[in-house]
């Protein structure tokens, strides 16, 4: 009797205990039923420089041939690059290399001779004095450095505006979008014989390459942010730069341009007319217009529409 009672009690106890516990467990499980996260979520963060005072970089292409002094040769392309981090504005201002200007301590000469006479420091001093610009940094590259840079990033996608055929620069390009090798990109940047406006258009083409590089960099960065290091490596290892420009600042600049809308980049060439001085083919800048352009850029890296000169590059190609 006792045994039966105990056996019944045992089964009953186990059932009651288990049932109570089971119902508790069920309630808890139901209460915590998941708001299951299925699918994808995305997160990203890119630092950037701040400040509305434009950062001004002088970018110079040295015309040195192998074996020549890179820092003391005639410059082939000259650009002032204004960056306003707060306004996401960039103005690229090309200075025709044949511009007839006052070079401190050297008299009047073509602006490209400043590099040959006094290196990057004199080039900076010349532009600061003649145009009223404060240059924060300079960067200089060579023909072979430029080519290597383009090759290191796997070529540059450029929309060639018209047929370019020029024995001097080696340009032999069909019109249309295409990926240029380092050598092709260099010929594109140097060609001044395939267009009527010669040196003016050449400076604009230099800006066009900057724009193409910016667009490509942003595309690659968006796809894979490690592209930032690849591009930095390509740039840093193939150019000389001013002492004050640290690798860290270059990284910060690179981050900043990842957020720079390409459409908000102005590609301007200082206006002027072609002339001749001392038997040299020269460019006489229209200083009234140049002053307005530089003044606008100095303020916030944005040149007012009414001060932007017409593009020199869309004139009929020669030949």
């Amino acid at each position: 009797m006792t045994k039966r009672f105990v056996a019944v009690l045992l089964v009953l106890g186990a059932w009651v205990g288990g049932t109570v516990a089971g119902s508790l467990g069920g309630t808890a499980a139901q209460a915590s039923s998941p708001g299951v996260v299925i699918g994808t979520a995305h997160a990203g963060y890119t630092p950037s420089l701040t400040g509305s005072t434009p950062i001004v970089i002088l970018a110079v292409g040295s015309g040195a041939r192998p074996g020549e002094d890179v820092m003391h040769s005639l410059s082939d392309s000259i650009h002032l690059i204004y960056i306003n981090p707060d306004k996401h504005a960039v103005a690229m201002i090309g200075i025709p290399r044949d511009s007839w200007v006052e070079i401190p301590g050297q008299g009047t000469n073509k602006i490209n001779s400043a590099l040959a006479s006094g290196g990057p420091d004199l080039m900076v001093q010349t532009i600061e004095t003649d145009f009223g610009v404060h240059i924060d940094y300079w960067a200089l590259t060579t023909f072979w450095g430029f080519q290597a840079m383009i090759n290191d990033i796997g070529g540059l996608k450029v929309d060639v505006p018209f047929r370019m055929l020029d024995n001097y620069s080696g340009a032999d390009l069909q019109p249309g979008p295409q990926t240029l090798s380092g050598a092709q990109a260099l010929s594109f940047a140097r060609d001044r014989h395939s267009m009527l406006m010669g040196d003016f258009t050449r400076q604009e083409d230099g800006g066009r390459l900057f724009l193409a590089a910016l667009a490509q960099f942003q595309q690659e960065y968006a796809k894979d942010p490690t592209a930032l290091l690849t591009w930095l490596g390509a740039g840093m290892s193939n150019m000389a730069k001013s002492d004050g420009l640290t690798p860290d600042q270059l990284v910060q600049l690179a981050y900043t341009v990842t957020a720079q809308p390409v459409k908000k980049v102005q590609n301007i060439v200082l206006p002027g007319s072609v002339g001749s001085d001392n038997g040299l083919s020269t460019v006489h800048l229209d200083m009234a217009k140049v002053t307005k352009i530089i003044s606008d850029a100095n303020d916030d890296a944005i040149v007012a529409k009414q001060n932007v000169p017409p593009s020199p590059g869309r004139t009929q190609p020669v030949g």
Binding site: G13, A21, A29, T40, P47
Partner: protein, 255 residues
């Protein structure tokens, strides 16, 4: 001899007592003693049975409390998940200067890669595996630069298991996860920046018993900050497969 009349019903104690009593009682011989002994044996047996009943009830309760995916007690639930251990799938140097000490750059790159692996092991452990931190971006701040920290809270659902992770997940067990590291180094081999291409997988067990794979992929760029490598920028995607083997019908889908 323990006084079984005062035994509190501990199963262990009852069984221990039972084993000793007959041996002692076997040495008595008088009828009175025999009766007393008989009475004691009955009392003893009843208490043993009561103890067994109590034990079975306790076992039944424990069984239901800890069964399957509905366990409400940690006792006997899944073993604790392992720690995240990324496999280093490659280390690459990016030169910042043309003429460089390549041996120094290579050595630096491997050292940096190991340091970054350690950082990512710890970060992903806190962000996705450790229930004490997997909802809280504050717990992973230490891995980011001051500037990047401000972005964490707004990205909580990607950078952690989300604010209510413990309502959703019981555990996340790290599976095969890899990184590839690139180091931008100057001519002397000093690292300027480093990047990691990340692929993390974790097997999530949900509170309803279902499982899913959590995948986190993307890249991060590191800078040396305060003696360690911290994330300066990142671009990460967190995806999760649909839960498998539902023991109960799912209560919600998507997010």
């Amino acid at each position: 001899m323990p006084d079984i009349g005062e035994a509190p019903g501990s199963l262990v104690r009852v069984l221990a007592t039972e084993g000793k009593t007959p041996l002692k009682d076997a040495t008595t011989s008088s009828p009175q003693r025999a009766k007393k002994t008989n009475d004691r044996s009955k009392v003893s047996r009843n208490r043993i049975i009561a103890g067994v009943v109590a034990g079975v009830v306790v076992l039944g309760v424990i069984f239901f409390l800890t069964r399957g995916g509905n366990s409400i007690l940690p006792i006997g639930s899944n073993p604790p998940p392992g720690k995240v251990a990324f496999k280093l799938n490659g280390v690459h140097v990016i030169r910042a200067e043309l003429h460089s000490n390549q041996a120094a750059q290579k050595a630096t790159a491997h050292t940096v890669a190991d340091q970054i692996k350690t950082q990512l092991d710890s970060l992903f452990d806190k962000a996705y595996v450790d229930p004490d931190s997997w909802s809280d971006t504050g717990k992973i701040e230490e891995f980011f630069t001051d500037a990047a920290k401000a972005s964490l809270e707004g990205n909580a659902t990607t950078l952690t298991n989300g604010p209510n992770a413990s309502d959703t997940y019981k555990s996340v067990d790290p599976k095969k996860s890899t990184i590839k590291v690139e180091v931008l180094a100057d001519a002397k081999g000093n690292a300027i920046r480093a990047s990691a291409a990340i692929s993390f997988t974790g097997l999530a067990t949900h509170t309803d018993g279902t499982t899913s794979n959590i995948n986190v992929t993307g890249t991060a760029i590191f800078v040396q900050d305060g003696g360690t490598w911290k994330i300066e920028s990142y671009n990460l995607k967190r995806s999760e497969t649909r839960p498998k083997t539902a023991t109960t019908s799912p209560t919600s889908e998507g997010s």
